[in-house]
């Protein structure tokens, strides 16, 4: 039981901090957005794209905490580089792709030469993660894909997509999901660019009689749900760290504003009512940090229910904190807080997007409800929540 970073983690954090400090002042970030540039290759050089992969795969053998350390910096920087979607997709690739596919894509994914994104969201399914109307019908030499993935976060710069499609069953069945790799330029794929409130960008993919050969499938046919669920949990965890970075930066910016901005002849921060609210912001950041950490550590467990419970508790806690910090930071900035000019509004929009992603608090509460009621019927003792036991 020790929650301090290892030496390697401290070094990683230092490298992240340095890049954020040197290249992500809010002004430079805005300028880069306008110029349509990003620092993807710098990420690759620093080894960030390789963090969670085994050394045999060219990675550095890190875990969710290590990716989290990068994500925290991304949150702090308000970086729009699609690190999270790429990591989810490349981790799935490393786990599930048949050898030829892995050989072809994994090394470029780690070196920054091939960007990936995960396509799993469809309109009409809200947060139901196994909702999938996009059909993969088996054909003589492979699959034919029809349908749409209406929102692929970070998909605008992807060279290839990992696509969840239904090879079996009804739209809301948990079974019958398969995973395919589709290149951006593949015939039958239409890519529509979408702007997003948080400036991170996304695409809508439409598949029209898109032909794939069987080698484009990752993992077993029909059986990809457990892997998808694990990946979405990973997404929630990575994102939680990003939220922590964004909240920490946002609460610093807000504290600074309260100390410098004057009204009625004295700093805003001299108002005790605002001080107490600022303290609640500060507390919320620490709570979110603890929850994010707890969820990252839970990704290591082999007990899937334990992982589910901790990730869901964490998503609920982080959402609560992110909502408080985002809304209050805007409010405490007064009129300046609702403009496009300061970073505060941009942090708020990113936190809002995070809250809306990977299931909302109610979806996660429902998942815990399933766990709690299942344990009710299997034993008379409700599950203990002692993570360290």
């Amino acid at each position: 039981m020790d929650l301090s970073f290892s030496e390697e983690q401290n070094m990683l954090q230092e490298s992240v901090s340095r890049l954020v400090r040197d290249h992500y002042s809010f002004q430079r970030r805005q300028q880069r957005l306008e110029d349509g540039e990003d620092l993807w290759l710098r990420f690759a050089e620093l080894g960030w794209l390789a963090v969670p992969f085994g050394e045999d795969q060219g990675g550095i053998g890190g875990g969710a905490v290590d990716v989290g350390i990068v994500m925290e910096g991304i949150g702090r920087a308000l970086a729009v580089e699609p690190y999270l979607p790429h990591m989810l997709a490349s981790q799935l690739l490393a786990r599930l792709a048949p050898e030829p596919l892995r050989d072809r894509y994994l090394s470029p994914a780690l070196s920054g030469d091939c960007r990936l994104a995960l396509a799993f969201i469809e309109a009409g399914g809200r947060y139901c993660p196994w909702f999938c109307a996009t059909a993969a019908s088996e054909s003589s030499d492979g699959y034919q894909i029809n349908g749409a993935k209406d929102l692929v976060p970070g998909g605008q710069s992807a060279d290839a997509y990992l696509v969840i499609a239904r090879s079996h069953g009804d739209t809301r069945d948990r079974q019958g999901l398969s995973l395919f790799l589709v290149e951006r330029e593949h015939p039958g794929l239409q890519v529509r660019r979408l702007r997003t409130n948080d400036a991170a960008g996304a695409v809508q993919l439409t598949f029209e009689n898109l032909q794939l050969d069987a080698g484009a499938r990752l993992g077993d046919a029909d059986q990809v749900w457990p892997e998808l669920e694990h990946t979405l949990d990973l997404g929630a965890v990575y994102q939680a760290w990003e939220a922590v970075g964004a909240m920490a930066a946002l609460s610093e910016v807000t504290l600074d504003y309260l100390k410098t901005r004057k009204q009625f002849g004295r700093p805003l921060g001299a108002n005790q009512a605002l001080q107490h609210r600022m303290v609640d912001l500060f507390i919320a950041v620490e709570e979110a940090r603890s929850s994010a950490l707890c969820a990252a550590l839970a990704m290591d467990t082999d007990d899937a229910d334990e992982r589910r419970r901790n990730v869901s508790l964490s998503k609920i806690a982080v959402d609560r904190c992110a909502r408080l910090v985002g809304q209050e930071a805007v409010q405490l900035h007064g009129a300046m807080g609702v403009t496009d000019e300061l970073s505060v509004g941009h942090y708020f929009k990113r936190l809002t997007a995070i809250i809306a992603s990977f299931g909302d608090s109610e979806w996660h509460a429902r998942r815990i409800h399933r766990l709690d009621t299942a344990s009710l019927s299997s034993s008379s003792q409700p599950a203990r929540s002692q993570s360290w036991n």
């Binding site: 139901c128 976060p153 409130n197 009204q263 805007v330 409010q331 403009t339 509004g345 941009h346 809306a356």
Partner: protein, 399 residues
């Protein structure tokens, strides 16, 4: 004691419904129903229709050309208009400039300015806030130098809603340096086409443009555009602030937003396949805010009854402002949550009903998410909710 309408009130409500039903342009109603952004012409078109009917300046007494409605009639009018998807009547002319002019202005000023407000041929804006004087109006610095028959005005106004649409601005300026910062302020009407007036947009976090910075550089303002006495402008400004706060509750609009939220919840599918309305957890949040809205509306009606009986509303207006904005913000937040992932895309073409591309996700998603972001400003403008709490603490609780 009666919540339901008297026969006369029912008849009045019917008359309003009939008029709106017959005269509200369909394209405008559709935009309002879909929560899309209206442009200047959308507002003016509807306001001129109301003006023809004598209803644009609906709060005015008959002697100034208003309909002379009772406070209950005004309330019914606002709620029914919101319910039927009318655009909000922009308050700067009929709710702000107008009452100041007919209360404190000269006969000449009344003749010159009131008709344009009644008919909605002139768009007004409000020049109050300054970079160093947000909620703290008394410390404003825009200076009007007395040049005999005119003032020479220089300074900077900020957060000026729709200055880019406006023909005229009513404006607080400093005309004397005094010890008490509230004195020495004057109330001027400024023609926005005067040389030296420059309007610069302030872009908002959700991507819209409704606020502006207005730079004033040696703007010549004839003395006939001074309202009331020089150096006494704080009195008129305070009069106006009270008006604005009562208005801010905007019950009708919030009730319409609640109805739209329920429509969204009834059409979105929840995670388990049923509608969101059937989802007990989402529904629970709906109910919570509905119960708050119920309280708010009855509170507003109780205050109406007091005012109708001749009592002053006092800091009750602050109460309505605080809870009204909190509730409206919460409704917008739930609508944004209802659309799940489709709160992420930013689709300005759909927001402005421009372009031909269909939006991604359900139609209501683009506006619901944008609306949530936009409504964060409600608890800040018009006297922030912190300022309002201070007012209640001081004036009502005498702390």
């Amino acid at each position: 004691m009666e919540l339901s309408l008297s026969p006369q009130q029912r008849e009045f409500a019917e008359q309003v419904r009939e008029f709106v039903g017959a005269r509200l342009p369909r394209d405008i109603a559709d935009k309002v129903r879909r929560d899309q952004h209206l442009d200047r012409e959308d507002h003016m078109r509807w306001q001129r229709i109301l003006g023809e009917q004598g209803w644009h300046a609906f709060t005015w007494p008959e002697q100034h050309g208003g309909p002379g409605w009772s406070i209950v009639q005004r309330y019914l009018f606002e709620v029914i208009c919101a319910e039927m998807n009318c655009p909000i009547i922009q308050p700067f002319g009929p709710r702000m400039a107008g009452p100041v002019i007919y209360t404190f202005g000269t006969d000449q000023q009344k003749q010159r300015f009131l008709p344009g407000i009644r008919d909605s041929t002139v768009w007004w804006c409000q020049g109050y806030s300054e970079p160093q004087a947000g909620s703290d109006l008394a410390s404003l610095a825009t200076w009007a130098e007395d040049k005999g028959d005119h003032y020479l005005v220089s300074g900077q106004k900020i957060w000026t809603s729709y200055a880019h649409y406006a023909d005229w601005m009513f404006c607080l300026v400093r005309t004397s340096k005094t010890e008490r910062p509230q004195t020495g302020i004057s109330f001027l009407l400024i023609d926005m086409r005067s040389p030296g007036v420059e309007v610069q947009p302030i872009l908002m976090l959700e991507g819209t443009h409704s606020f502006n910075t207005v730079f004033l550089e040696n703007v010549k303002v004839p003395k006939e555009n001074l309202i009331g006495e020089q150096d006494n402008g704080w009195t008129y400004a305070k009069f106006l602030l009270e008006h604005e706060r009562v208005d801010n509750a905007a019950i009708g609009v919030t009730k319409a937003a609640m109805r739209r939220l329920k429509e969204i919840a009834a059409s979105e599918h929840g995670d388990d396949g049923g509608t969101l309305m059937e989802d007990p957890l989402f529904h629970r949040k709906l109910v919570e805010v509905e119960s708050q809205l119920q309280s708010l509306e009855v509170t507003a009606l109780r205050i109406l009854s007091q005012v109708a009986a001749g009592e002053a509303p006092g800091p009750a207006a602050s109460l309505l402002k605080i809870r009204g904005t909190e509730i409206a913000q919460r409704i917008s937040e739930l609508a944004s949550q209802a659309v799940g992932y489709f709160a992420l895309p930013y689709q300005p073409d759909y927001l402005h009903d421009a372009g031909s591309e269909t939006p991604v996700g359900p139609d209501h998603a683009a506006t619901a998410a944008n609306n949530y972001l936009w409504r964060r400003c409600m608890s800040i403008y018009g006297g922030s909710n912190e300022i309002q709490r201070g007012i209640i603490a001081k004036r009502m609780l005498e702390m």
